[in-house]
Amino acid sequence: MSPRPTTSPRFLDAGEAALVVEFGSVVDPAVSDRVLCLDEILAASQINGIRELVPTYRSLMIHYDPLRIRREALVAAVEDTLTAAPAHRRASTHWIVPCCYEEPHGEDLAELAAIAGLPPADVAALHSGATYRVYMYGFAPGFTYLGGLPEAIAVSRRSTPRPPHEPKAVTVGGGLSAIGTFSMPTGWYVVGRTPEKFYAPERSRAFLLEPGDTLRFEPIDSTTFEGLHARAEAGEVVARTEEP
């Protein structure tokens, strides 16, 4: 973990029932560490009146009941936490996520390769060779934003969205990668598809990834994809964890 920055966060009101604790204005692992550290300590603190915590790249949104805890008391509790608590986060989990880059799954791989000026096989190799950090969820249930995309394929988003992709699409855009859980139009490039269900409300563990986890994509062929896809749809977890 990088040394803990010492600058004070900003406290921003999002109405009278949500407080944003903002540690920075950029996507950066050190800023994310501070967000997740506060998230973890507050989640364990059981401070009366805190209703829900939403970690994002650079801030933690604290939804609270202002009739149970005054804003000033909440700010003081957060400041105490930041001063007193060690900057240790729980050990993050490292995931191996199977991903098929072949047709028909990596439907935009060739388009992305043309923009990056690389052979499509190199794009897949670069994408699967990197280690990603789960920064945050957003957009839709189970949709994760991943940092750590190699510079060579860190392209901008499309100027206009493409038609809806399949659920479980692995995408690249805006300098990040992402795992989409629902079929939807996107401004990102679909480079592959994972058989894993990262949103499975019927499964006892509906969500697998925690913000701060790391992952790597493991290339699989389309025959392997079909097998794992069937198992995942039947409720099995087909992504694996290992020591980072």
């Binding site: 829900e52 629902f182 949103y199």
Partner: protein
Amino acid sequence: MTPKLKILAAGPGCTVQDEGRHGLLRYGVTGAGPMDPFAHAVANRALGNPRGAAAIEVSLGGLELTAENDPITVALAGGAFAISLDGQDLPPAVVVTVQPESTLKIRGGPGGAWCYLAVPGGLDVPLMLGSASTHTRTGIGGIDGRALRAGDRIAAPASGRPVVAAGRIDVPALDRPADTIRVIMGPQADSFSADQIERFLAGPWTVSTRGDRMACFLQGPTLTHARGYNIVSDGIAMGAIQVPGEGQPIVLMADRQSTGGYPKIATIIGADLGRLAQARPGTSFRFRRVEHAEAVDARQAEHDLLAGPIAVEPVIRTTFPSEFLLGLNLIDGCVDGLADA
């Protein structure tokens, strides 16, 4: 046999909502819940329910239903909707018992955009991810994650016993004109220069025809950003007023996404969320900036009102068979049950 509400006809956008889905915003799961949390709570509290019990949110598309197996007492509260039971007009905020074979019709009336129908003990809808609230975009909650349609049956298992005397719900606070909506500035008010904030507060703003449970689009003076309109995504509270590139604000409501990347100039206070939600397209209003303490006071006042019993102007009978209703003057909401008795 469990008493059930049977939907006879449903316009678009009628859904089951409880107080919303909490604790999963961090996994990208929308909270959903009622557009007008106050009116939803009033309907529940009129029956003695917890304020967040599962109820039906009726859109301007309207709803028709009947009771199956047993009479079902319902409470209705929200906008000034046109309510009738077997052709007999009822006040827009009312407690009434629906007999099997009777037809309760709920239609858009002179004002408001949402009406809530509660039953004693709440509707029995399976919880999904901890809540009965429907989020149609992701197919979560309610009846198969979708809006209600004709033929749906929803169990109201605790409705056998009448909990309160039937009559008109007397909550003057339900009538909330949307001429002024109170906001707390931020979280990204610093993305706008002082003159743009003045412009935002001067308005006036008009509710656009484009809007749904996710967002309310506003039309008015164009706002410009001090330093571009892309920010690194952060959390979104209900009532957040984001300003995208074209400079026309969008108020993010119950079905909003959990995070987003446009600057949020201000946030509507909790007590005024329903005021905006009930404003129909074409409604013109201004925002008024308040401090945190005023927003908390307003929230406390709502909380206190909902903590006690909700006044229901009583009639002598505890149920409303249609022949009894026919003998009452219920037109225009000016029923006085005691005087009639």
